[in-house]
Amino acid sequence: MGDPLGSADISELESLRLRIAALERQNAEYRNALAALQDGDSLWKTVVSNAPVVLWALDQEGIITLTEGSALGILGVQPADFLGRSVFTIYADHPEICDDFRKVLAGEPLTTHRFLNGCWFETRMSPLFDSRGVVTGVIGVSTDTTERVRAEQSLARSELLFREIVQNASDAILVVDYEGRITFANPRCQKLFETSPEEMIGRHFLEFTAEQEQPVLRQRFERRMRGEEVERRYEARLRTQTGSLRWADISVSLLSREGEASTLVLVRDITQRKRGEAKLLYRERFEQLITSFSTQFINLPLDEIDSGLRGALGAIGAFAGADRSYIFLLDETGQTMSNTHEWCATGVAPHSQQLQEINLDSIPWFRQELFSKQVVHVPRVADMPPEATLEREHFAAQGIQSLVVVSMLIDREPIGCVGFDAVRTEKRWSQDVISLLRIVGEIFANALARKQAEADLQASEERFRRLVEHATDAFYVYDLEGRIVDVNQHACVSLLYSREELLRMSLSDIDATMVPERIEEMWKRMLPGVPLTIDGTHRRKDGTSFPVEMHAGLFSLGERQLVLALARDITERKRQEDALRAARDELELRVQERTAELRHANAELQRSEAKWRSLVQNAPDFIMTVARNGTILFVNRMASPLAVDNVLGRTVYDFAPPDQHEGIRTGLEQVFATGEPHDFEIRSVGNDGRTSWFAGRMGAVREDGEVTAAILITTDITLRKRAEEESKQHQADLAHIGRLSTMGEMAAEMAHELNQPLAAIANYANGCIRRLKLGADDAETLISVLDEVTAQANRASRIISEMRDFVRKRAVVRSRVDINQCVRSAISLAEIEAKKYGIRIHAELAENLSRVNANAIQIEQVVLNLLLNAIDATQQKELTNAEVAIRTELESEDVIAVAVIDRGRGISPEHVERIFDPFFTTKTQGLGMGLSISRSIVESHDGRLCAVANPAGGTTFRFTLPILTAGPFEEPCNEPDC
C-alpha cells in the first residue's frame, strides 16, 4: 500500500483532469455559440434565449434597452426589472462597473469579468456606432461564469496543492511517459536517487533500478502501456546515481495527459525497514535457537548431553558467524580449565586436543577479565592490552584473530566458559551475540550441572545400594498388601530363605503376628516421612522364630507406594531387658528392706538423740558449742534473764570479761588446731560486782575428721571456789589453831612472831650506837630511826595482845559433836590436797553414832592432820589407784573410834613412838608439830591416839573418844556444823 495522501492525490487529480477537460469543452462550445450569434439574428435569440447568458443593450445614455437570456432566470431576475433603467443607477454601488460602461459608451469594446451579487460574470461589451461613428449604444453579453470561475479557482487551488504535495512529498514522485522516460521528478528524488530532479528528466526509469530487477520491471511497464492490468504496488530494489542499492515501495498509476499515457510513480525508500526486517529475522532465529536449546537440554537424556552440546555449539557458531565455538570446563580445584566440547566451521582446524588442563595461572589476565566481568570480548587480538601479553601470544599462536568468551555459572559460581573464535577474519560481535552466548551458556551450565548431579546421584545410589545389601540389619520392601518386593542379603541369612523364595512370599508368611488386619492398620498409620516402630516375631525356614523390632516407613517409587522396613533381631536385647527387669525387681526389694532398716535405725537414733538432748537440756552444767571465732552456735540454757535465742550468734567474748579473752582465744585455737580437750577456769565479775568462777572443759566437735566447733561444758564453780577459799582459810585457821592449841605451841608461835620486831629494834638501836660512836650527828636521821624502833616495839606489844585475844577467844569450846560431821568436814578440806595427787579418800562412817562432847574444830583439825599425813605418805609412794581410808565406829558402848588408814610409805619401827614428839618430822618441810598437837587434843578429850604399821604396808592412825563427857558444857555452840 502507498501512503494515503498519495492515493487521494491521484484520484483527485483524475477528477480534476476530467473537470478541466469538461470545462475546456464547455468553453469551446461557448465560443461557437457566440460566433453563431454574431452571424445571425434569429439564431442568436434562440440561442441567446436558451443560452445561459444575458444579452443586453444600452442606449447612449446607459439606459437598458434590452435584456434577454435564460441566465436571467438563473439569476432570478425579470427583464422588466432592468428595462428602462440606467445602469449607472443600478450599479451605482459598483463604481468599477460604471466605469466599464462609461468606457464602452466612449467607444471601447470591453470584456470584463466581474463578481456581482455572489456570481461571476464575464461580460463582452461592444459599442454600437451609427454612420457617423457616434456611439449609439452598447450591446453586451454576460455569461454567468460563477461555476467556471469556481472550478478554475478550485482547479488552481488543487493544482497549487498538488504542486505543493508533489514538491514536498516525502516520497519521490516521478512521471514517466509512454516510452518510459522521466518527464517529471520531484525534489525528493534528489535524496532517493542521489541526483537532481532536473538531471533525471529525460532518462529512462530503468536506469534507476537494480540490475536484477530490470527484466521484471520492464515487462511490467510494457504490459501496462499495452493497457493490461498489472500490479500497481510492489517492492523493488533501486539503484541510485552513485550505484548504491535501495529498497523501495513503488506505487504506479496511469495518467492520461494530453492524450498521451503517462505513468505516475510514487517511490518510497524502505531500505531501513528492510534492514529492520532482516534484524527481526535475525532475532527470531536467535530466540528460536535459545528456545530450542532450552527444551532440548531439559529433557535430554544424560548420555546424549555431550553430543547435544556439540550440536548446540554448531548451531550458535553458525548463527553468530564464528569460525569455532567451544566450551571450557574448570576442574574441581578451579585451577585448570579444559576444552571439553568444540565445533568448527568447515575449513577451520579443531583445537580442543591441545587445550586440555590449562592452568589458569598461565592466563591471569584472561582469568581476571572473565571472572570479574563474566565476559571477555577481544575484537582484535593484536590490540590486546600489555597486561594480556601472555594471552595475546597464546591466541596469536592459535591463529585466532577475534574471540568472545562468556563465563558459565552455577549458583553464581563459575564452572567454565563458552565462546567463539574468529580465525579467518576479524570479527566484532554484537551485544546480541554476547547475550546469546550468556543465555546459551546458562543452558549448557544447567545441562552440565544436571549431568553432574545425575552422576553424583547414581554414585550415591550405588553406595546406598551396597550399604543396604550388606547391612547388618534385614531390610525389606513391601507393597501395600504386604507382599515382599525386595530384600537384602541379611534378610535372607536371618530367615534362612533364599532371595528368590522371599520375593515370592509376603509379610504374613514370615511373621505370624502380621495378620492382614494388622498389616492394613499399620500401613494406615504410616505417613510418608514418619517412621513407625512395630514389634513382631519372624519365623525362619527351619521353624524357629525370634523377636524383631521393625522400623517401617512409607515411600513412593514412581507411582507405587511401598514400605521400607528394617527388622532388627532383638533376642539379645529382650534377654537383657528381662535380666534388667529382674535386677530392678531385686533392687526394689532390697531397697525396701533397706528402707525398713533405715527407718528403724532412724527411730533408734531419734530416741538416742532425744535422750542426749534431754540430758543436755537438763544438765546442770552449761553446754555450748562455739565456732572458731567465738560465735555461740548452741547453748543448752542460760543462767540469767537472757534467753537462749538472744545469745545464739553472739560471741563468747561478749559474755566474758576482757581480761579473759586472750585465754579463751588461745584455748579455742588450741582446740581447733589439735582437737585435744583441755580444762579451763574463767573468772567473771557480774554487774553486781560479785565474782563468779566457772570451770570447764573445752573439747572438739568433729565432723568427718575436721574440727568444726568447740564444745564447752562449763560448771559454775563459784560456790566451790568460795568453799575452797573458805576451806583454805579454814585450813589456815586450823593450822593456825593447831599451833596454838597448847601453851607450848602458842609460846613458840609468839616467840617467832615477836622475834621479828625485836630483832628489828636491836638492829636499829645497834646501828644508831655505832653511828654515834663514829661521830654521826645527823639528828634527823637518827630520830626517824628511833621512831622506827618505837613502831616495832608497838608491833611487838600488839602481837602479844592479839595473841592473848586470840587465845582467849578461842578458849576451848566444847559441844555435842557429831564425829561423822567433823570427819566429813575434814575430808572435804583434805580432798583438795588428795585430788592434787590423784588420791581417793574412802570414808566408811558408822551410822547413828552418838554425839561426843568435844571441840568440833579441834577434832576436825586432828582428823585433817591425820588425813593430810596419810595423803602425804601415800603420795610419796606413788601408787596407782592410791587410796586413803577413814573409818568411824563404835568401839564400845561408850567409846567412838576413828581410824585413818593409808598404804603409804609407812613408818619405820624405830620412829613409831617418836612420831608424836614435838618437832619430830621425817618430812623435809614442816615443823613436825602436827601429830603432837593432835595427840594433845585427843588426850585433852580423854581419848587416845596411836599409830600402827599395816602389815600390807602403810600406817593406820587411830584415836578414840569417850562418849560420856568429863565436863559440863561451857558455852553454847557457835559453830555452824555442830
Partner: protein, 204 residues
C-alpha cells in the same frame, strides 16, 4: 671481774622492819647495802659478779632461802651466803651448809656477831675473787709462753739453775738465759721467788 666495785651486802628478808633495820645496822659500819623483799627480786636485780655477800632469811614466802641457794649455784653466783633463821634444825643447817652457805645464824642475832660474820664473808669473797683473778691472770700469761718456755719455767720454778736447765734440755746456757728473760717478761714476774710464788698460788 668487777674489782673496782665496792663490795655490797645484799639483804633478802620478807619482813619489812627487819630488812630495813638490818640495812641500817650494816650501813653503820660503812658497808654498802642493797635490800630485797624476796629471792625473786634479788635474782632479777643482782648485778653479775658484784663482790660482797648475801644475807638471807631462810623462811620466806615464795622461794625459800634454801631454794635461793640452789638457784645461786645454778647460776654460778659465788658470793658467800649468810643464812639467818628464826628457828633452825639440824637437817636444815646441814642442807644450808652443804649448799655452800658460809654461815648459819639463829635469831635473835647479836649485832656484833652478824657484822663480824659479814666482814669475814666479804673478805673471803674478795680473796676468792683475787685468787680467781690471779688464777686467770696466771693462766692467761702462761698461754703466752711457748712450749719451750713453759718447760724452762717449770724447771726454774723447781729450783734448777740455768746451767742445770741447759744441761737437762741440751741447750746452751745462753739460750736458757734468753728464755728466762722472755719468761720473766711474759709472766710479769719481778723476781724468781715472785714467779715461784705465782706458780704455787695458782696451781694450774
Amino acid at each position: 671481774m668487777n674489782l673496782t666495785a665496792e663490795p655490797t651486802v645484799f639483804v633478802v628478808d620478807d619482813d619489812n622492819a627487819l630488812r630495813k633495820s638490818l640495812c641500817w645496822l650494816i650501813e653503820s659500819i660503812g658497808l654498802r647495802v642493797q635490800t630485797f623483799a624476796s629471792a625473786h627480786e634479788f635474782l632479777d636485780a643482782y648485778p653479775a659478779d658484784t663482790p660482797g655477800c648475801l644475807v638471807l632469811d631462810v623462811r620466806m614466802p615464795g622461794m625459800s632461802g634454801l631454794d635461793l641457794q640452789e638457784r645461786l649455784e645454778e647460776r654460778r653466783i659465788t658470793i658467800p651466803v649468810i643464812i639467818i633463821t628464826g628457828y633452825g634444825d639440824v637437817p636444815m643447817a646441814v642442807r644450808a651448809m652443804k649448799a655452800g652457805a658460809v654461815d648459819f645464824i639463829e635469831k635473835p642475832v647479836s649485832d656484833q656477831m652478824l657484822l663480824d660474820r659479814i666482814q669475814q664473808a666479804i673478805m673471803t669473797d674478795s680473796m676468792h675473787r683475787e685468787s680467781k683473778r690471779g688464777k686467770s691472770q696466771f693462766a692467761a700469761r702462761i698461754e703466752l709462753l711457748t712450749p719451750r718456755e713453759r718447760e724452762v719455767m717449770d724447771k726454774v720454778v723447781s729450783g734448777l739453775s740455768s746451767r742445770e736447765i741447759g744441761d737437762e734440755l741440751g741447750v746452751s746456757f745462753k739460750t736458757v738465759e734468753a728464755h728466762r728473760a722472755k719468761i720473766m717478761k711474759k709472766m710479769q714476774a719481778s723476781s724468781v721467788p715472785h714467779l715461784v710464788r705465782m706458780a704455787l698460788n695458782n696451781e694450774v
